[in-house]
Symmetry: C2
Subunit: 368 residues, 2 copies
Amino acid sequence: MGFKAAGIACGLKKSGKLDLALVYSQLPAKASAKFTTNKIQAAPVIFNKKLLKQNRTFRAILVNSGNANSFTGREGLKDAEEIACVLGEASGLKKESILLASTGIIGRRLPLAKIKAGIPKLVLGLSHSGLDKVKKAILTTDTFTKEATAQFNLGKHKITVCGIAKGAGMIAPRMATMLGLIFTDARITQKALQKALGIAVENSFNCITVDGCMSTNDSVILLANSAAGNPQIEQGRNFNAFLSALNTVCLRLAKMIVKDAEGATKFIKIKVRQAKNFREAKAVALQIANSNLFKTAVYGENPNFGRIVAAAGASGAQIKERNLKIKVSSLEKKEINVTVSVGSGKADAVVYTSDLTPEYVKINAQYT
Amino acid sequence: MGFKAAGIACGLKKSGKLDLALVYSQLPAKASAKFTTNKIQAAPVIFNKKLLKQNRTFRAILVNSGNANSFTGREGLKDAEEIACVLGEASGLKKESILLASTGIIGRRLPLAKIKAGIPKLVLGLSHSGLDKVKKAILTTDTFTKEATAQFNLGKHKITVCGIAKGAGMIAPRMATMLGLIFTDARITQKALQKALGIAVENSFNCITVDGCMSTNDSVILLANSAAGNPQIEQGRNFNAFLSALNTVCLRLAKMIVKDAEGATKFIKIKVRQAKNFREAKAVALQIANSNLFKTAVYGENPNFGRIVAAAGASGAQIKERNLKIKVSSLEKKEINVTVSVGSGKADAVVYTSDLTPEYVKINAQYT
């Protein structure tokens, strides 16, 4: 695919686990990204947004876990710029071609010395199989790594879309994320790349919720480096094949995040049907998905459907009691399907979530 | 005060505890009420709203716990009408002078026979000290009864405002309630009564949240029966004295509900200062108050202030990182004060909430 990667433990995590990673594109790559809509944005988010406005191609993403570099003010932004500079010098890449991502505790300065000391090791360690280490190095409270790949052919050219993600708590829609890093060797126009990412994120990472809590660091970054040598994908040409592969990767990653939700014992799919429009369908689904009372009832395998009724009615969507129909699959299974028919139109939406358990409370009572 | 009351156990609660109650005004009383804004409204809410539009004075409130009579359709509304009729016959009161309230499980028909059998006992049991039983009969998962009283003098007339409430879970603003029944012997105009209740509810029951889950039954009903014989209170005359007493009662009850929050170990006051306007101040306070991550951190006595930052930034209010200041009192105490200065204006808001504990999850995993 024309990407190399590396991951190391540089001491940001007390556990000694991997916590610093680099993904490197052997060819200049176009980039598109989606970031948190939180008003407080982490330094790497601010850093990337500025770069993405100015620059046309990118070569690397440097990621750390264990520290979010968020709510760290001007100093935090300077720290971000400094590590990009250090990587630029160590790798020979222009510092403007380097994107950043951080995840972990909010409100503490990055331990710069540790990261600086780690960067040359990352550069030396780059390899074609390095993504296995990157997907470990970006984890925080996650219990498993998250990777998804989809391929398709354009004539004789095989095109790959490969993504990794982290996320288990502080997961809420818009952006519903976490970090998601997606790589493709497709040759594709900037416009088509952005459009595809927008659609794919809306239908995947923006359709999951664990706790309704929106992070300051959420980022999904997509790099496309043209290594497949295919005829250029445009909005009107071969776009759907690419979008379909990207959709597949994003949705698989999003579902993995929900399955890894902190303390969760159940994976819940909520489908809202017959709503006035997509916005209302999603609002109803999210209100149910974020209802602590619904989530605890699922944990207790207690079919308290009145809580679904109350949540649907509180969503702001137009709902009439006599048209509302609710179907819930057996709560004793690991995967639960909830279908809510609103009966006021033709729009559907699907949202994925988890149950709320005593374990979630314990994990988050002790974090830091 | 010119009110009598009674409470009995008629078998709605399996535990055999009190579950049916009647409050009776010896004089015709003006009424004002606030109800849930949930699109799904329980039968007694629909019943009361219709009556309050048509009727000018009221004589009684019949309340049951153990069953919400919600999401019960036309049958549920007929059930409500039928028990009002039965009470009318048993008491000699016009059925149009009777208001209703129900609380408990959603989606099940009322056990009519039990209630009908209980009504004559209630009528026979009415007494001046009966409110002690009413405040028990309206409880569900509450662990203690909630009552507050305030008095003031207008010339030689002593005026009393007395309220009771229930609520411990499914507590979210607009309406942030529960049931609240408030009685006063004041002589007051209908307009002044409504205005005072609107202000008092906005600053009390609409400023608390336990779990962000909005009920279908929330009702605050205020009866004023003129028994004090005072010169009539109007919007421009003696209004503030009455409002102040009503505010005191509502705020005390609201705080008691938060203190009794399901599984809670902490009482949290969140003050947001220097917001652009009251709406934004309240939005920030509520976003923090409803953040599971914030609430679990308080439970764990873990001063993870990044979660306050993330919640404030997700509230939709205009917030600049450099102006945001956060102060949190010692988390080891039972009562916690959080002060968030937004630095974008002059408006303040205060919201009360509780922590999120494994016990909350257990209570709600097993309810029904």
